[in-house]
Symmetry: C2
Subunit: 423 residues, 2 copies
Amino acid sequence: MVPRLTTALKGPLLDLEQRILTAQPTIEHWFRTQWQEHTPPFYSSVDLRNSGFKLAPVDTNLFPGGFNNLNPEFIPLCVHAVQSAVEKICPEARGLLLVPENHTRNQFYLQNLEQLARILRQAGLNVRIGSLLPEITQPTTLELANGGSITLEPLVRKGNRLGVADFDPCVVLLNNDLSSGAPDILKDLEQTVLPPLLAGWYNRRKSGHFAAYREVSRQFAELLGIDPWMIDPYFAVCNQVNFHEKVGEECLSSQVDLVLTQIRAKYAEYGVKQDPFVIVKADAGTYGMGIMTVKDASEVRDLNRKQRNKMAVVKEGLQVSDVLVQEGVYSFEDLNEAVAEPVVYMIDRYVVGGFYRVHTDRGVDENLNAPGMRFSPLAFDSCCAFPNPDCAPDDTPNRFYAYGVVGRLAMLAASVELEEMHQ
Amino acid sequence: MVPRLTTALKGPLLDLEQRILTAQPTIEHWFRTQWQEHTPPFYSSVDLRNSGFKLAPVDTNLFPGGFNNLNPEFIPLCVHAVQSAVEKICPEARGLLLVPENHTRNQFYLQNLEQLARILRQAGLNVRIGSLLPEITQPTTLELANGGSITLEPLVRKGNRLGVADFDPCVVLLNNDLSSGAPDILKDLEQTVLPPLLAGWYNRRKSGHFAAYREVSRQFAELLGIDPWMIDPYFAVCNQVNFHEKVGEECLSSQVDLVLTQIRAKYAEYGVKQDPFVIVKADAGTYGMGIMTVKDASEVRDLNRKQRNKMAVVKEGLQVSDVLVQEGVYSFEDLNEAVAEPVVYMIDRYVVGGFYRVHTDRGVDENLNAPGMRFSPLAFDSCCAFPNPDCAPDDTPNRFYAYGVVGRLAMLAASVELEEMHQ
């Protein structure tokens, strides 16, 4: 069961997919040379949009949840990839401490955590889960709706080493995006921390990622002889916005206008009939909070109180001050009339699968990763790692290979982004 | 569908499987440290025997065929593993020249070749197949019974670079075991040749492999606190044997006696009721030619002409002069009354699957890889890469994990063996 593309306008994308297929050895070779220069993140997931005329990443997560949504058939790929990652990062590693989000009731998150811990264990690691929650003062086992269970333990820091009781790990793996800052207990550790603390959303900016992605996609587009716009969404940023105080609306409306103008020119060039739109969202943070779909600059002026409240706050009550204005890419994949958005998962430099977020109540121009949203996940039935040359360019394995390629481009951009943060 | 173990005497093996399961993080960590010291072969397959009381490799192939017998579900694992291998060996590689066996009619072999080429292509390599056969003077497409096809091309050597017309590869991959020597056209190439020429059967000796395996299994047994015999077959060698001239029979019978005595002592120690037996086979070569099952030293004295003829010659008519006397390990896995022998496949340091050779006409103490033998392959339904801690130690995924571990021990021994050949 695979969502179908509903747009009639598939010309440019079919051409893109055909070029990606034809150039596969060139592409894989190019990625190999990139990995000689850059270190991939331990893991990542990339939200894609496929509009039929454009295939682009719209968000890259360095602390991915949702491992429970992957196709169980491809778990061996995850295990291989973890083994490869661990070997490079810390060949001596046997003990891995997993530091999760502070959720103890979100079944979806907890099932992700259980699946992630299982993958790490199957790769031959001793895994313990150390919680940042102050109320976890002793090992606490949570029963899961799927019949599984996970045990959270209180973190124990001794000098500059972090662990849990009787467990001194070699590496600390964060599955917590640090939206509200890096806790002191995680700072200045002797052990390798992955991803590094500065990749947390308290520090990271989507605009930094997409600036790095712009350069990566420019090089890749040159390699393939395509317009980089086919894979790269326009964006602009406004800083020091305060929605409550109505500060920064001028910047927002002018940037919205700028980006809409850019998109309009491209739509004209390629004969796209749809209305251009942009997504206005917090430049830091995740969980799709503080997100607006905007088709005209006037919409971001004179926001009413409800709209301002919605935009002002993201996860953990954090105030938004940096705002990203990103080209909206239509989601023209649907499954039984429901909009379907692909998410590609990677561990180390390997694509290990993905799934669709399928939602019946949303439009093609709305964000599916919204608060309280209950998407149904549909696991990819292909691992996205390679194409099938015997199929048409837009047949499932080939469409998924293209997703895997664009996902890896975003992952490569994240590698560059992390290097720049370290400087 | 999985063969079942038919022996009642599973005590020691269950204990071994349990120890392997419990020690998984220790084992994976140990392998990681081994791969810091040693370079795994590009690919390998290992024939195992599971007697219920012993689980041991009996042959390690560095030019594996049979990729067509693997479970298609695990082909993505093969592709990942090839990507990882290529990255290490030759990150610049885009072009790979595959040099196959000189078979043009063996459908099984040709289907293997097609599958192998497909895996390499899916990993993003440009693959061409260059044949050593003098009659291949132009590109020759062979149609396969499965509907596929492969194209063999004449090798073209320019100076010290090997390729085919308009193709200058970065790496040469041999799928030809060089039984009759290293052809001049393959010698002193600038390009990396994998496996190295000296791994060919014209030079390699099973006894060299099993000597390396002895040391590897000793270390591994110490790690797990087991008797190394549980995973290591006894062996002895006679050189300068000439079956036609009846030269070397004394050596053979004394070595057979020695090995049988060693086995008898172990059988007594573990209460094994079966009769000890040894396999007498050529120390070089493959395809199970020149193989005898022997339960008493007298059987190798005064061989009749037919027996001598059978033992004297292996693949491509080569005379046998070095003979291996190897502890026989009973095959106590069966499927619908047929004997089933597992073969584990590895690419780089990764287990990528395997299959059973299933044969109805053979006994538990006979070799299933015999000339003209038509086994039916049964692909493993597990990838052997990791266990399932929720199952019993001898449940399928865990039995297969143990196979993957012992397969990797043999592969590690092959790495050491290749290093020693280079010295």
